[in-house]
Symmetry: C3
Subunit: 138 residues, 3 copies
Protein backbone atom coordinates (compact mmCIF):
# COMPACT_ATOMS: atom_id res chain seq x y z
CA UNK A 1 0.00 0.00 0.00
CA UNK A 2 1.21 3.47 -0.95
CA UNK A 3 0.34 6.62 0.99
CA UNK A 4 1.46 9.86 -0.64
CA UNK A 5 0.94 13.37 0.75
CA UNK A 6 1.21 16.76 -0.87
CA UNK A 7 -0.19 20.24 -0.34
CA UNK A 8 -1.58 22.95 -2.60
CA UNK A 9 -1.04 26.57 -1.55
CA UNK A 10 -3.38 29.45 -2.34
CA UNK A 11 -3.24 33.20 -1.81
CA UNK A 12 -6.18 34.70 -3.66
CA UNK A 13 -6.24 38.38 -4.64
CA UNK A 14 -9.96 38.70 -3.88
CA UNK A 15 -11.70 37.85 -0.60
CA UNK A 16 -13.87 35.34 -2.48
CA UNK A 17 -12.62 33.26 -5.36
CA UNK A 18 -13.34 29.84 -6.86
CA UNK A 19 -10.44 28.07 -8.56
CA UNK A 20 -10.40 24.84 -10.55
CA UNK A 21 -7.80 22.43 -9.14
CA UNK A 22 -8.53 19.19 -11.02
CA UNK A 23 -5.21 19.26 -12.91
CA UNK A 24 -3.16 19.95 -9.79
CA UNK A 25 -4.81 17.00 -8.00
CA UNK A 26 -4.28 14.76 -11.06
CA UNK A 27 -0.60 15.75 -11.08
CA UNK A 28 -0.17 14.68 -7.44
CA UNK A 29 -1.93 11.38 -8.16
CA UNK A 30 0.44 10.76 -11.10
CA UNK A 31 3.46 11.54 -8.89
CA UNK A 32 2.22 9.08 -6.24
CA UNK A 33 2.39 6.11 -8.58
CA UNK A 34 -0.99 4.90 -7.27
CA UNK A 35 -3.07 3.25 -10.02
CA UNK A 36 -5.97 1.93 -7.91
CA UNK A 37 -7.14 3.85 -4.87
CA UNK A 38 -8.53 7.15 -3.66
CA UNK A 39 -7.35 10.70 -3.16
CA UNK A 40 -8.56 13.00 -0.38
CA UNK A 41 -8.60 16.73 -1.20
CA UNK A 42 -9.33 18.74 1.93
CA UNK A 43 -9.16 22.45 2.82
CA UNK A 44 -6.98 22.98 5.91
CA UNK A 45 -8.52 26.39 6.70
CA UNK A 46 -12.02 26.72 8.04
CA UNK A 47 -13.17 29.56 5.80
CA UNK A 48 -12.45 27.69 2.56
CA UNK A 49 -14.15 24.80 0.80
CA UNK A 50 -13.38 22.08 -1.72
CA UNK A 51 -16.18 20.78 -3.92
CA UNK A 52 -16.98 18.97 -7.18
CA UNK A 53 -19.31 20.56 -9.70
CA UNK A 54 -19.52 22.15 -13.14
CA UNK A 55 -16.73 24.19 -14.77
CA UNK A 56 -19.05 26.86 -16.12
CA UNK A 57 -18.59 30.49 -15.14
CA UNK A 58 -22.34 31.17 -14.95
CA UNK A 59 -22.91 28.34 -12.49
CA UNK A 60 -19.88 29.39 -10.45
CA UNK A 61 -21.39 32.89 -10.12
CA UNK A 62 -24.78 31.32 -9.29
CA UNK A 63 -23.15 29.31 -6.50
CA UNK A 64 -21.55 32.44 -5.05
CA UNK A 65 -24.81 34.43 -5.17
CA UNK A 66 -26.73 31.53 -3.67
CA UNK A 67 -24.27 31.09 -0.80
CA UNK A 68 -24.53 34.84 -0.12
CA UNK A 69 -28.29 34.43 0.21
CA UNK A 70 -28.14 31.37 2.49
CA UNK A 71 -25.19 32.59 4.60
CA UNK A 72 -25.04 36.38 4.23
CA UNK A 73 -22.17 38.63 5.21
CA UNK A 74 -22.94 41.82 7.15
CA UNK A 75 -25.00 40.07 9.83
CA UNK A 76 -24.31 40.64 13.52
CA UNK A 77 -22.85 37.18 14.19
CA UNK A 78 -21.71 36.27 17.71
CA UNK A 79 -18.37 35.18 16.26
CA UNK A 80 -17.65 38.85 15.49
CA UNK A 81 -17.48 39.68 19.20
CA UNK A 82 -14.02 38.06 19.10
CA UNK A 83 -12.86 40.74 16.63
CA UNK A 84 -13.34 38.49 13.59
CA UNK A 85 -15.64 39.56 10.75
CA UNK A 86 -15.81 36.35 8.71
CA UNK A 87 -18.54 34.20 10.30
CA UNK A 88 -20.34 34.07 6.96
CA UNK A 89 -17.23 32.49 5.39
CA UNK A 90 -17.39 29.67 7.97
CA UNK A 91 -21.06 29.09 7.09
CA UNK A 92 -20.62 29.31 3.31
CA UNK A 93 -17.92 26.64 3.38
CA UNK A 94 -20.23 24.48 5.54
CA UNK A 95 -22.87 24.34 2.80
CA UNK A 96 -20.34 23.74 0.04
CA UNK A 97 -18.27 21.17 1.93
CA UNK A 98 -14.56 21.33 2.70
CA UNK A 99 -13.35 18.03 1.27
CA UNK A 100 -13.90 15.51 -1.48
CA UNK A 101 -12.65 12.01 -2.09
CA UNK A 102 -11.90 11.08 -5.69
CA UNK A 103 -11.54 7.52 -6.94
CA UNK A 104 -8.40 6.54 -8.87
CA UNK A 105 -8.88 3.80 -11.47
CA UNK A 106 -6.22 2.56 -13.94
CA UNK A 107 -3.87 5.33 -12.86
CA UNK A 108 -6.22 8.28 -13.44
CA UNK A 109 -8.92 10.22 -11.60
CA UNK A 110 -12.14 8.29 -12.19
CA UNK A 111 -14.44 11.28 -12.78
CA UNK A 112 -17.73 11.64 -14.62
CA UNK A 113 -17.85 13.67 -17.86
CA UNK A 114 -18.52 17.03 -16.16
CA UNK A 115 -16.93 16.54 -12.75
CA UNK A 116 -14.28 19.12 -11.87
CA UNK A 117 -12.71 19.84 -8.47
CA UNK A 118 -12.72 23.39 -7.11
CA UNK A 119 -11.10 25.32 -4.29
CA UNK A 120 -13.54 27.87 -2.88
CA UNK A 121 -12.05 30.77 -0.95
CA UNK A 122 -14.36 32.82 1.26
CA UNK A 123 -11.81 34.81 3.26
CA UNK A 124 -8.83 35.23 1.00
CA UNK A 125 -5.83 37.49 0.58
CA UNK A 126 -3.74 35.25 2.86
CA UNK A 127 -1.75 32.04 2.41
CA UNK A 128 -3.88 28.92 2.81
CA UNK A 129 -3.39 25.22 2.19
CA UNK A 130 -5.24 22.19 0.86
CA UNK A 131 -3.95 18.73 1.80
CA UNK A 132 -3.96 16.06 -0.91
CA UNK A 133 -3.58 12.52 0.41
CA UNK A 134 -3.35 9.58 -2.01
CA UNK A 135 -3.96 5.99 -0.82
CA UNK A 136 -3.83 2.85 -2.90
CA UNK A 137 -1.74 0.34 -4.78
CA UNK A 138 0.72 0.90 -7.66
CA UNK B 1 -4.60 -4.43 0.22
CA UNK B 2 -7.61 -4.91 -2.06
CA UNK B 3 -9.07 -2.16 -4.25
CA UNK B 4 -12.32 -3.09 -5.99
CA UNK B 5 -14.30 -0.85 -8.35
CA UNK B 6 -17.83 -1.10 -9.63
CA UNK B 7 -20.52 1.22 -10.96
CA UNK B 8 -24.26 1.57 -10.46
CA UNK B 9 -26.31 2.87 -13.40
CA UNK B 10 -29.52 4.87 -13.10
CA UNK B 11 -32.07 6.17 -15.57
CA UNK B 12 -34.97 7.55 -13.59
CA UNK B 13 -38.41 8.02 -15.14
CA UNK B 14 -39.03 11.27 -13.27
CA UNK B 15 -36.78 14.37 -13.28
CA UNK B 16 -36.44 14.04 -9.50
CA UNK B 17 -36.27 10.73 -7.69
CA UNK B 18 -34.69 9.35 -4.53
CA UNK B 19 -33.69 5.68 -4.57
CA UNK B 20 -32.37 3.48 -1.77
CA UNK B 21 -29.10 1.81 -2.82
CA UNK B 22 -27.88 0.24 0.43
CA UNK B 23 -28.33 -3.33 -0.84
CA UNK B 24 -26.56 -2.66 -4.13
CA UNK B 25 -23.58 -1.18 -2.27
CA UNK B 26 -23.55 -4.12 0.18
CA UNK B 27 -23.53 -6.52 -2.79
CA UNK B 28 -20.46 -4.83 -4.28
CA UNK B 29 -18.71 -4.95 -0.89
CA UNK B 30 -19.46 -8.70 -0.63
CA UNK B 31 -18.11 -9.26 -4.15
CA UNK B 32 -14.89 -7.39 -3.28
CA UNK B 33 -13.95 -9.84 -0.51
CA UNK B 34 -12.97 -6.91 1.73
CA UNK B 35 -13.76 -7.59 5.38
CA UNK B 36 -12.11 -4.54 6.99
CA UNK B 37 -12.04 -1.25 5.15
CA UNK B 38 -14.17 1.45 3.59
CA UNK B 39 -16.36 1.92 0.54
CA UNK B 40 -16.76 5.20 -1.33
CA UNK B 41 -20.13 5.77 -3.02
CA UNK B 42 -19.98 8.84 -5.25
CA UNK B 43 -22.28 10.33 -7.91
CA UNK B 44 -20.37 10.85 -11.18
CA UNK B 45 -22.87 13.42 -12.50
CA UNK B 46 -23.09 16.88 -11.05
CA UNK B 47 -26.86 17.12 -10.79
CA UNK B 48 -27.19 14.04 -8.59
CA UNK B 49 -26.37 13.33 -4.96
CA UNK B 50 -25.61 10.42 -2.66
CA UNK B 51 -26.53 10.70 1.01
CA UNK B 52 -27.24 8.71 4.18
CA UNK B 53 -30.47 9.27 6.07
CA UNK B 54 -33.80 7.68 7.03
CA UNK B 55 -35.73 5.22 4.84
CA UNK B 56 -39.10 6.81 5.52
CA UNK B 57 -41.25 8.13 2.67
CA UNK B 58 -42.47 11.15 4.66
CA UNK B 59 -38.94 12.30 5.40
CA UNK B 60 -37.88 11.70 1.80
CA UNK B 61 -40.71 14.00 0.64
CA UNK B 62 -39.73 16.52 3.34
CA UNK B 63 -36.17 16.54 2.03
CA UNK B 64 -37.38 17.16 -1.54
CA UNK B 65 -39.69 20.02 -0.45
CA UNK B 66 -36.96 21.54 1.70
CA UNK B 67 -34.39 21.43 -1.11
CA UNK B 68 -36.93 23.11 -3.40
CA UNK B 69 -37.24 25.91 -0.86
CA UNK B 70 -33.48 26.38 -0.37
CA UNK B 71 -32.53 25.92 -4.04
CA UNK B 72 -35.64 26.65 -6.11
CA UNK B 73 -36.18 25.83 -9.76
CA UNK B 74 -37.66 28.53 -12.00
CA UNK B 75 -35.17 31.19 -11.01
CA UNK B 76 -33.27 33.19 -13.63
CA UNK B 77 -29.88 31.57 -12.96
CA UNK B 78 -26.82 32.71 -14.94
CA UNK B 79 -26.13 29.06 -15.80
CA UNK B 80 -29.25 29.09 -17.95
CA UNK B 81 -27.64 31.54 -20.39
CA UNK B 82 -25.72 28.50 -21.67
CA UNK B 83 -29.00 26.88 -22.73
CA UNK B 84 -29.19 24.67 -19.63
CA UNK B 85 -32.19 24.83 -17.31
CA UNK B 86 -30.96 22.78 -14.37
CA UNK B 87 -28.94 25.14 -12.16
CA UNK B 88 -31.22 24.31 -9.24
CA UNK B 89 -30.25 20.63 -9.61
CA UNK B 90 -26.57 21.57 -9.18
CA UNK B 91 -27.45 23.51 -6.00
CA UNK B 92 -29.76 20.88 -4.53
CA UNK B 93 -27.08 18.22 -4.82
CA UNK B 94 -24.63 20.63 -3.17
CA UNK B 95 -26.72 20.77 0.01
CA UNK B 96 -27.35 17.04 0.08
CA UNK B 97 -23.79 16.00 -0.78
CA UNK B 98 -22.66 13.84 -3.67
CA UNK B 99 -20.70 11.13 -1.88
CA UNK B 100 -20.50 9.08 1.28
CA UNK B 101 -17.89 6.81 2.75
CA UNK B 102 -19.16 3.74 4.58
CA UNK B 103 -17.08 1.67 6.98
CA UNK B 104 -16.78 -2.09 6.44
CA UNK B 105 -16.32 -4.15 9.61
CA UNK B 106 -16.25 -7.97 9.81
CA UNK B 107 -17.24 -8.20 6.15
CA UNK B 108 -20.37 -6.04 6.31
CA UNK B 109 -21.37 -2.38 6.06
CA UNK B 110 -20.93 -0.98 9.56
CA UNK B 111 -24.09 1.17 9.67
CA UNK B 112 -26.17 2.49 12.55
CA UNK B 113 -29.70 1.11 13.09
CA UNK B 114 -31.42 3.61 10.76
CA UNK B 115 -28.67 4.47 8.31
CA UNK B 116 -29.56 3.85 4.66
CA UNK B 117 -27.77 5.04 1.53
CA UNK B 118 -29.70 6.91 -1.16
CA UNK B 119 -29.15 8.07 -4.72
CA UNK B 120 -30.83 11.45 -5.28
CA UNK B 121 -31.59 12.40 -8.86
CA UNK B 122 -32.36 16.05 -9.61
CA UNK B 123 -32.16 16.02 -13.41
CA UNK B 124 -33.19 12.55 -14.46
CA UNK B 125 -34.50 10.75 -17.52
CA UNK B 126 -30.98 10.03 -18.76
CA UNK B 127 -28.34 7.41 -17.98
CA UNK B 128 -26.14 8.32 -15.02
CA UNK B 129 -23.54 6.54 -12.95
CA UNK B 130 -22.39 6.17 -9.35
CA UNK B 131 -18.89 4.87 -8.71
CA UNK B 132 -18.45 2.40 -5.83
CA UNK B 133 -14.83 1.96 -4.73
CA UNK B 134 -13.96 -0.56 -2.01
CA UNK B 135 -10.61 -0.38 -0.17
CA UNK B 136 -9.38 -2.67 2.56
CA UNK B 137 -8.13 -6.08 3.56
CA UNK B 138 -9.74 -9.51 3.08
CA UNK C 1 -2.06 -2.21 5.64
CA UNK C 2 -3.69 -1.61 9.01
CA UNK C 3 -7.43 -1.14 9.50
CA UNK C 4 -8.45 -0.17 13.03
CA UNK C 5 -12.02 0.44 14.24
CA UNK C 6 -13.35 2.11 17.35
CA UNK C 7 -16.52 3.88 18.45
CA UNK C 8 -17.30 7.00 20.45
CA UNK C 9 -20.49 7.01 22.53
CA UNK C 10 -22.55 10.08 23.34
CA UNK C 11 -25.58 10.73 25.53
CA UNK C 12 -26.10 14.48 25.63
CA UNK C 13 -28.13 16.12 28.41
CA UNK C 14 -29.65 18.66 26.02
CA UNK C 15 -31.57 17.91 22.80
CA UNK C 16 -29.00 19.93 20.86
CA UNK C 17 -25.33 20.01 21.74
CA UNK C 18 -22.04 20.46 19.90
CA UNK C 19 -19.00 18.68 21.37
CA UNK C 20 -15.35 18.88 20.35
CA UNK C 21 -13.97 15.37 19.68
CA UNK C 22 -10.55 16.09 18.14
CA UNK C 23 -8.65 14.61 21.10
CA UNK C 24 -10.76 11.44 21.20
CA UNK C 25 -10.14 10.87 17.47
CA UNK C 26 -6.42 11.56 17.90
CA UNK C 27 -6.32 9.00 20.72
CA UNK C 28 -7.84 6.31 18.50
CA UNK C 29 -5.36 7.14 15.73
CA UNK C 30 -2.48 6.80 18.21
CA UNK C 31 -3.84 3.43 19.40
CA UNK C 32 -4.06 2.19 15.80
CA UNK C 33 -0.34 2.54 15.19
CA UNK C 34 -1.06 4.08 11.77
CA UNK C 35 1.50 6.78 10.88
CA UNK C 36 0.45 7.45 7.26
CA UNK C 37 -3.19 7.17 6.26
CA UNK C 38 -6.66 8.50 6.89
CA UNK C 39 -9.32 8.31 9.57
CA UNK C 40 -13.06 8.33 8.92
CA UNK C 41 -15.23 9.87 11.66
CA UNK C 42 -18.91 9.23 10.92
CA UNK C 43 -22.12 9.64 12.91
CA UNK C 44 -24.07 6.36 13.00
CA UNK C 45 -27.38 8.06 13.84
CA UNK C 46 -29.25 10.11 11.29
CA UNK C 47 -30.09 13.06 13.51
CA UNK C 48 -26.47 13.82 14.38
CA UNK C 49 -23.58 15.30 12.42
CA UNK C 50 -19.79 15.38 12.44
CA UNK C 51 -18.01 18.43 11.05
CA UNK C 52 -14.74 20.38 11.05
CA UNK C 53 -14.75 24.07 11.91
CA UNK C 54 -13.67 26.63 14.51
CA UNK C 55 -13.49 25.96 18.27
CA UNK C 56 -15.03 29.28 19.25
CA UNK C 57 -18.20 29.40 21.32
CA UNK C 58 -19.63 32.38 19.41
CA UNK C 59 -19.32 30.62 16.08
CA UNK C 60 -20.77 27.42 17.52
CA UNK C 61 -23.84 29.40 18.66
CA UNK C 62 -23.99 31.10 15.24
CA UNK C 63 -24.00 27.69 13.54
CA UNK C 64 -26.88 26.52 15.75
CA UNK C 65 -28.93 29.67 15.11
CA UNK C 66 -28.24 29.49 11.39
CA UNK C 67 -29.28 25.82 11.15
CA UNK C 68 -32.48 26.70 13.01
CA UNK C 69 -33.21 29.32 10.35
CA UNK C 70 -32.46 27.04 7.39
CA UNK C 71 -34.08 23.91 8.86
CA UNK C 72 -36.56 25.07 11.51
CA UNK C 73 -38.22 22.93 14.15
CA UNK C 74 -41.96 23.35 14.71
CA UNK C 75 -42.89 22.93 11.07
CA UNK C 76 -45.59 20.46 9.99
CA UNK C 77 -43.20 17.98 8.35
CA UNK C 78 -44.61 14.84 6.71
CA UNK C 79 -42.15 12.76 8.75
CA UNK C 80 -44.14 13.68 11.87
CA UNK C 81 -47.13 11.66 10.64
CA UNK C 82 -45.13 8.60 11.75
CA UNK C 83 -45.22 9.86 15.34
CA UNK C 84 -41.69 11.32 15.15
CA UNK C 85 -41.10 15.00 15.89
CA UNK C 86 -37.49 15.38 14.78
CA UNK C 87 -37.56 15.98 11.00
CA UNK C 88 -35.67 19.25 11.51
CA UNK C 89 -32.83 17.27 13.14
CA UNK C 90 -32.50 15.13 9.98
CA UNK C 91 -32.31 18.31 7.86
CA UNK C 92 -29.89 20.17 10.15
CA UNK C 93 -27.43 17.30 10.05
CA UNK C 94 -27.78 17.24 6.25
CA UNK C 95 -26.44 20.79 5.93
CA UNK C 96 -23.65 20.24 8.44
CA UNK C 97 -22.59 16.83 7.13
CA UNK C 98 -22.40 13.58 9.05
CA UNK C 99 -18.82 12.51 8.41
CA UNK C 100 -15.31 13.79 7.87
CA UNK C 101 -12.11 12.17 6.71
CA UNK C 102 -8.92 13.38 8.37
CA UNK C 103 -5.43 12.79 6.98
CA UNK C 104 -2.79 11.17 9.19
CA UNK C 105 0.80 12.25 8.48
CA UNK C 106 3.88 11.25 10.50
CA UNK C 107 1.67 9.59 13.09
CA UNK C 108 -0.58 12.58 13.85
CA UNK C 109 -3.78 14.17 12.54
CA UNK C 110 -2.67 16.47 9.72
CA UNK C 111 -4.96 19.42 10.51
CA UNK C 112 -4.73 23.12 9.70
CA UNK C 113 -4.09 25.62 12.52
CA UNK C 114 -7.78 26.12 13.39
CA UNK C 115 -9.32 22.81 12.34
CA UNK C 116 -11.19 20.99 15.09
CA UNK C 117 -13.59 18.06 14.79
CA UNK C 118 -17.05 18.29 16.34
CA UNK C 119 -19.96 15.99 17.11
CA UNK C 120 -23.25 17.79 16.57
CA UNK C 121 -26.29 16.36 18.31
CA UNK C 122 -29.74 17.49 17.13
CA UNK C 123 -31.93 14.94 18.90
CA UNK C 124 -30.12 14.05 22.08
CA UNK C 125 -30.81 12.57 25.49
CA UNK C 126 -30.24 9.04 24.19
CA UNK C 127 -27.18 6.86 23.58
CA UNK C 128 -25.65 7.39 20.16
CA UNK C 129 -22.46 6.31 18.42
CA UNK C 130 -19.80 7.64 16.07
CA UNK C 131 -17.64 5.14 14.19
CA UNK C 132 -13.94 5.92 13.87
CA UNK C 133 -12.16 3.88 11.19
CA UNK C 134 -8.40 4.25 10.68
CA UNK C 135 -6.70 3.03 7.47
CA UNK C 136 -3.05 3.22 6.61
CA UNK C 137 0.45 1.96 7.22
CA UNK C 138 2.47 1.87 10.45
Amino acid sequence: MTVHTDYLWFNTKKPQEILRITDEVAGIVAASGVREGIVLVSAMHITAGVYVNDWESGLIADIQDWLEKLAPAGVDYRHHQTGEDNADAHLKRTILGHQVLLPITSGALDLGPWEQVFYAEFDGRRRKRVVVKVLGIP
